[in-house]
Point group: C2
Chain length 577, copies 2
């Protein structure tokens, strides 16, 4: 965007809505007439009803769970790849910066909001077609507006032998958008970017390419052979501002013959590094699939409950004694391991046995089959029906606790973990974004709308007990220092790398707390970068610092940006400026 910072000099003043860009303040100084002109041109392409400038809509799009999110100056909703190409061509000719967004459910990383205030939002939710599902070869070709919920429903109805992966995040999130951000799912197809095969991309000059040379009619393997022909270039369009993906092949799982989910409560926190090492070895040996994760007590608490203000008053972090008490009451362990096993019946049985052997001494392994889950569901129904008979309900709950060692509060978690591990998305987990919200968790969770305070911070470490412990220690002390609850989920990105997903939950209605959350985020960034740990993914808050420890590589990425998007119209701020 360097060229656009003083467009007054360029003699194109009346053609661009950008007067200047203030990178420090993260905002575009808008020329209203130029913007109006550009939008009227956009409207000729997409229809006036698909160019939105109402303040309430702009506000909603600029609202995110991260503090200090920025508002777009307009929203354009193209309805096809061709319209995307036309809009981008117009945008390039007038230097109109665009912020592409698939569904805008990028909660915790900035939602739909652009990096720079005033960027025009290029919203792709109307591109929501499931173009093809190939049952035999187990893939789908979809547009970026297709959601997990939509894809799963379609498969259940038409292709029950295919499963999609999903995240435990928003069911209305974009399958393609998440994969392009290199998000992680929960099944054996959890590395979402790895499941992309065959992209249709509109470049900054409005031209349209298919990666790998998948021109229609010329390439049967467009969606089956990832690397294509010549250099493999799909990676260019992940975590990037180098193009807008309008169509993507996504590999699907063949429905396995057998499936079970499992959990293990780690008996002694001191064994966490050992658990990480065991998990890595099991994964390297092909015993444990992707999607295996380890979460701490705050994660579990946020899922089953909300911040207990009634117990702690104005404390912004749960005191250790309270946390201990809650853990005991809810039977939440300090750390627990969870995941799914997929395969033939014999394979799953073999793996179960191996898992039990490998985890011996670390805690109790609990394996959930569909049958067991049905029994738990029946118990839940019974308890539900006894709302009016609290004593009987309590007696049953106590009996269950004696038998299983678990509180009945955990029943809803078990069944949802079991189903999400089968790629069935659920609103249930999203509600944990309301942990610090003064609102009660709603049925139709929408953390942006409800002003929930949530920031993801996600460094990645080699998958060894030592490395993971170093990052945890480093970060935990900062959470404590800044008075926030330490939420930590360890997600296997692959057998050799562990994502350490941390969440800063804060009350967004309290400006001072939001400020402190930002300060903590900066401190985490600085400390982990200094210690040599990259982030696996970052949001608008972290983009400016993304390449600060990789200056050579940053320069290289900028060279590509200059070559492919010299006017810097795509997602300004997403790559370092």
């Amino acid at each position: 965007m360097a060229d656009a910072s003083s467009p007054a000099d360029s003699g194109r003043r009346d053609a661009t809505p950008v007067k200047a860009i203030d990178w420090a303040q993260r905002r575009i100084v808008i020329d209203e007439r130029g913007l109006a002109e550009a939008l009227s041109r956009f409207a000729e392409v997409v229809g006036t009803e698909h160019v939105v400038t109402e303040l309430s809509a702009l506000r909603a799009m600029g609202q995110a769970t991260v503090p200090d999110s920025r508002r777009p100056s307009a929203i354009v909703y193209p309805g096809s790849a061709d319209e995307v190409a036309q809009i981008i061509k117009l945008a390039e000719s007038r230097s109109v910066p665009l912020w592409p967004c698939s569904k805008g459910r990028n909660w915790g990383y900035g939602s739909a909001a652009p990096f720079l205030e005033g960027t025009v939002l290029l919203h792709l939710e109307r591109l929501n077609r499931i173009i093809e599902v190939n049952e035999e070869l187990a893939y789908a070709v979809i547009e970026p507006g297709v959601t997990y919920r939509q894809l799963k429903a379609f498969l259940v109805q038409h292709h029950p032998n295919l499963w999609c992966d999903c995240t435990d995040g928003p069911p209305d999130g974009s399958v393609v958008g998440n994969a392009l951000e290199r998000g992680l799912g929960v099944t054996s197809y959890g590395d979402h970017f790895a499941t992309l095969c065959g992209l249709e991309v509109v470049l900054a000059d409005g031209s349209l390419i298919r990666t790998g040379g998948g021109e229609p009619g010329h390439c049967h393997t467009w969606n089956t052979h990832k690397w294509g022909v010549g250099p493999y270039l799909e990676g260019l369009f992940s975590q990037s501002s180098l193009g807008v993906v309008t169509k993507a092949g996504v590999w699907l799982l063949r429905r396995p013959q057998a499936f079970v989910s499992f959990t293990l409560d780690l008996a002694d926190e001191a064994n966490l590094p050992r658990l990480v090492d065991v998990v890595r070895e099991l994964s390297l040996q092909g015993v444990l699939p992707q999607g295996t994760h380890i979460v701490n007590d705050v994660v579990a608490l946020a899922v089953v409950s909300q911040y207990p203000r009634e117990l702690v008053g104005n404390c912004t972090r749960l005191p250790d004694a309270v946390m201990r008490e809650l853990r005991k009451h809810l039977t939440i362990p300090q750390w627990s391991l969870g995941g799914g096993l997929y395969g033939t019946r014999a394979q799953v049985n073999a793996v179960r046995a191996e898992l039990r052997r490998a985890l011996r001494g670390l805690g109790r392994l609990n394996v959930l089959t569909d049958r067991k889950v049905r029994a738990l569901l029946r118990l839940e129904t019974v308890l539900e029906s006894l709302r009016s008979r609290p004593l009987l309900r309590q007696a049953i709950a106590a009996g269950f606790r004696r038998l299983s060692g678990k509180s009945v509060e955990l029943l809803p978690v078990a069944k949802r973990v079991h189903s999400v591990m089968q790629g069935i998305p659920s609103d249930y987990f999203v509600r944990h974004a309301y942990f610090k919200s003064p609102l009660e968790k709603p049925e139709d969770a929408h953390p942006d709308r409800d002003n929930c305070g949530l920031i993801w911070f996600a460094p990645i470490a080699p998958c060894t007990g030592n490395h993971v412990q170093v990052v945890l220690n480093l970060c935990k002390q900062l959470f404590i220092h800044h008075n926030f609850d330490f939420y930590a989920a360890l997600l296997m990105q692959n057998s050799r790398s562990m994502i350490i997903l941390l969440s800063i939950f804060y009350d967004k209605d309290i400006p001072a707390e939001a400020n402190r959350a930002q300060v903590l985020y900066s401190a985490l960034t600085e400390a982990t970068q200094k210690a040599g740990y990259q982030q696996y993914r970052t949001g608008t808050m972290g983009m400016a610092a993304l390449f600060s420890t990789a200056p050579e590589y940053g320069r290289f990425v900028r060279r590509l940006k200059t070559a492919l998007d010299p006017m810097g119209i795509l997602a300004p701020g997403k790559l370092p400026h």
Copy 2:
């Protein structure tokens, strides 16, 4: 290279050894004084002994198993990444085109020889350091001169719990070079490009980057997290001329608890499509790993024998009747399936049972354990010791055949397949390049030196019986038409794609046959491209036509080339000009 085609206009004539480039004739018109000047500058960097211009050496490097290979005008052997960077910087300033080559064992695709006659060979074999082996995280960091043989020997000695993958090609091939060409191996880590993680690359301007921002001391996950930070760009440097890789992380296999290899002789050729479908399903279900392959009779014949000139005279293709007879005599099936199973003992047992069930009715599954292989080895030794007693030998061989259904000629294959599936490279398979050679297979196979005639042609198809059969039919008729034996190996690139590796064996001493081999190659290219099947990888013979069915994508790749290597000094001809 557009700019360099008439460098006389550029006023730099005395600085570049390139007078002109004749793309049609695939040669650079050399200015001898300019070349000498450039080489003397190169020699200042690498030492005079590492700049080679002796005609015999140039001839050797220009010699390949493909017809019509081109000779370099000099060979430069840098000894470090820093020297590579200096050479490239010098080359850029004087527009000296370089053809990078790791070990030059790219047999069947052009070996070490450049696309354009007269390109200076940048030979990386002196960069042969194994820089790190991380036992815990199962990876190595190596230079491009490191070979399969070298890496395996190092692991056997120092890290017996780590296995590397290898190909069934040359043991002295480059691990990194093959991975960058996206070559395929034979174990569960067979997709070699997929096992690369963390590249150090010298760009055309001589600058050095580490992909993903793996600057030393700033990124612990450089070799464990493939995608890095920001856009994932390692793919840029595969099958490409955009940079020279000087160091790479390569993921290694954790030595499995249990391993067996297996083969199945397909009883009825008509069931080949069904077999392909079964293999795909087993792979999608996680039963069969990568490395599973299906080969035809010509492959097996080339491995155990040579072209039986004594039987067929001047025929350049084995008549069907002779082939039938050979198959019967050697107990070679028309098609056979083979692969390895890796995992815990229980997993391998589970998979064996599943495999047996799924393949029922298709042929006899033969599972080889280490123990069985030892027994076969003993038998081989016995037979070897009976060379002087042919009758006894014959009786034992007949007995073995009655019991096993197999000829003793296949004994050497079984043990080598079993060991190569464990990543143990072997000279054995390479010798099949001598199929049409008038020489007997030598111990120290070197097909370039010995003027063997071999061209690989490798289209890729969706992994369905239908698609694979379409490609086979299309190609087989062309082989028959042009009078060459139809060599076909089906290699699973992934669960959804099958590489159809075809080899044109020809007698290189007979110019007419070499000519026909070229004609067949062109016919195969045209027919498969027209039918919508890309090549998964191509050599110097196929580079000019690589993007002919993907013009949009080709233009995009050229844009990148122009941005990163405006003088076109790296590997001219490798990307479309």
